[in-house]
């Protein structure tokens, strides 16, 4: 899976949420999407997910444009937003079965149970997902995307609701996902964790790319670029 973004921009009325973004990602890349609140991270994720249309620019997956009619391309994109995109009145197992069928994966009950086992939700399979905590819903989302196996996985601040075990599960899943040659883009304010996983960092500020480099050790360029957004201690 290759992702190419050309001159991408998005305006809401007179406000430019994102301006002139170019990006070319190779298979297996993990991008840490960083930046202060209102930088345009969620807008970029929504554009890449096809949930909002760009004002200008184009997004291509393996050379195929992501346009409204491209069902096959959409099937290659996943968006893991904690506690979202799950039906509260369906059970944990029914949610997995529904989305698995929607993506035409045809997973057997055994495969669904195994996916739940891996995220520690096997004993909650018959429970309504509305009764789960936010952390458990996030685990269910991890199980869902593990089953659906998208070529491009987008994550919007996944750490906030997960406990220690949940974070380990998520990170193991993301590492394995990239190892398959899939692309992961994760927006997060947990910088240390995101940097630990990533192969590239992208910092957005006021809708523009402030920094974009492959990971290095040490990484003085990143330290300088990100230093602008660090808290000052309230003094």
């Amino acid at each position: 899976m290759r992702l190419t973004v050309k001159h991408l921009a998005k305006a809401y009325g007179y406000l430019w949420a994102l301006r002139h973004l170019d990006l070319a990602l190779a298979p297996g890349e993990f991008v840490a999407l960083l930046g202060p609140n209102g930088a345009g991270k969620t807008t970029l994720l929504k554009l890449l997910a096809g949930l909002t249309t760009p004002t200008t620019g184009a997004i291509e997956l393996d050379g195929r444009p992501l346009s409204a009619g491209a069902a096959a391309v959409r099937g290659q994109i996943g968006l893991l937003a904690p506690a979202e995109h799950l039906y509260d009145q369906l059970t944990v197992l029914e949610n997995l079965r529904f989305f698995s069928a929607l993506y035409d994966k045809g997973s057997s009950t055994g495969a669904l149970q195994a996916a739940l086992e891996e995220v520690g939700l096997a004993d909650r399979a018959g429970e309504f997902s509305g009764n789960l905590s936010a952390g458990m819903k996030c685990r269910l989302s991890i199980a869902k995307w593990r089953l659906l196996d998208p070529g491009l996985l987008l994550l919007d601040e996944p750490y906030g609701v997960l406990d220690g075990n949940g974070i380990d599960l998520l990170e193991a899943f993301l590492r394995a996902h990239c190892a398959k040659g899939h692309i992961v883009i994760m927006a997060s304010h947990h910088v240390a964790r995101a940097l630990n996983l990533c192969s590239r960092a992208l910092i957005l500020h006021q809708g523009r790319v402030h920094f974009d480099e492959p990971k290095q050790t040490p990484w003085p360029g990143f330290d300088r670029a990100f230093g602008d957004f660090l808290p000052r201690g309230g003094l």
Partner: protein
């Protein structure tokens, strides 16, 4: 997966959710019944005016009851941003339109099966043998209502005052369906057969087919705008 298979999957999901929540069906059923009682106490229908007044009153009840159901049509998709979850998937948007129209139609028909005989009893109407013909007209009218209703419910989905906006957009568009249905029912009640009402029946059928096709074709644009 084909359009029909996707629509069937979504329809099963909506029916299962409705079976568990019972919000829409119970609300529609009680509201429809309540309206009939209000009409019963408000109107003293003379026997010679039955054929003219009964269809209009009945359709007024269906229109208000159906609008109540339409307001809830995308509720499951509004919770937890599930609509985004669907739009993110390789789902054909036409399948979403067919599933929502089918679901709404099932709710409406379930209510109508109870409301029409109750209307007959409350207004002490004769001619029970005409009920099958009236049900056929009602079915065609209800299909038209559900098709247009699903499109307008999707248009007003993200609006702040969607409950107010929905009838304002829907009712003017419904005029041809209401007119044709009422004229058909009136003819059946007066003559005992479709007779002169055949052109109205054709209009209803044409309306249903045209807007069902348009809905499948434009729902992509409607739901994403």
């Amino acid at each position: 997966m084909t359009l029909v298979k996707q629509a069937y999957l979504l329809l099963c999901k909506d029916l299962l959710l409705e079976l568990r929540r019972r919000d829409s069906l119970l609300t529609m059923f009680f509201f429809g019944t309540l309206l009939l009682f209000v009409f019963h106490f408000a109107f003293d229908m003379p026997p010679d005016k039955v054929a003219e007044l009964a269809p209009a009153l009945l359709w007024l009840a269906f229109l208000f009851t159906g609008t109540l159901g339409l307001a809830q049509l995308f509720q499951a998709e509004r919770d937890n941003h599930c609509l985004d979850g669907l739009l993110l998937s390789p789902l054909d948007r036409g399948a979403l339109f067919l599933a929502k129209t089918g679901f709404n139609l099932m709710l409406m028909l379930a209510v109508e099966v109870v409301v029409i005989p109750l209307f007959w009893i409350l207004f002490n109407l004769s001619g029970w043998n005409l009920l099958p013909q009236l049900f056929l007209v009602t079915l065609l009218g209800t299909v038209g209502f559900c098709v247009l209703g699903t499109i307008t419910a999707a248009i007003t989905l993200r609006a702040r005052a969607r409950e107010l906006l929905l009838p304002l957009v829907l009712f003017p568009l419904m005029i041809p369906v209401i007119l044709a249905t009422i004229r058909c029912m009136e003819t059946v009640l007066k003559t005992g057969s479709f007779g002169d009402a055949t052109p109205w029946l054709r209009l209803l059928l044409g309306f249903d087919v045209i807007f069902l096709t348009i809905g499948v074709l434009i729902f992509d644009w409607v739901i994403e705008s």
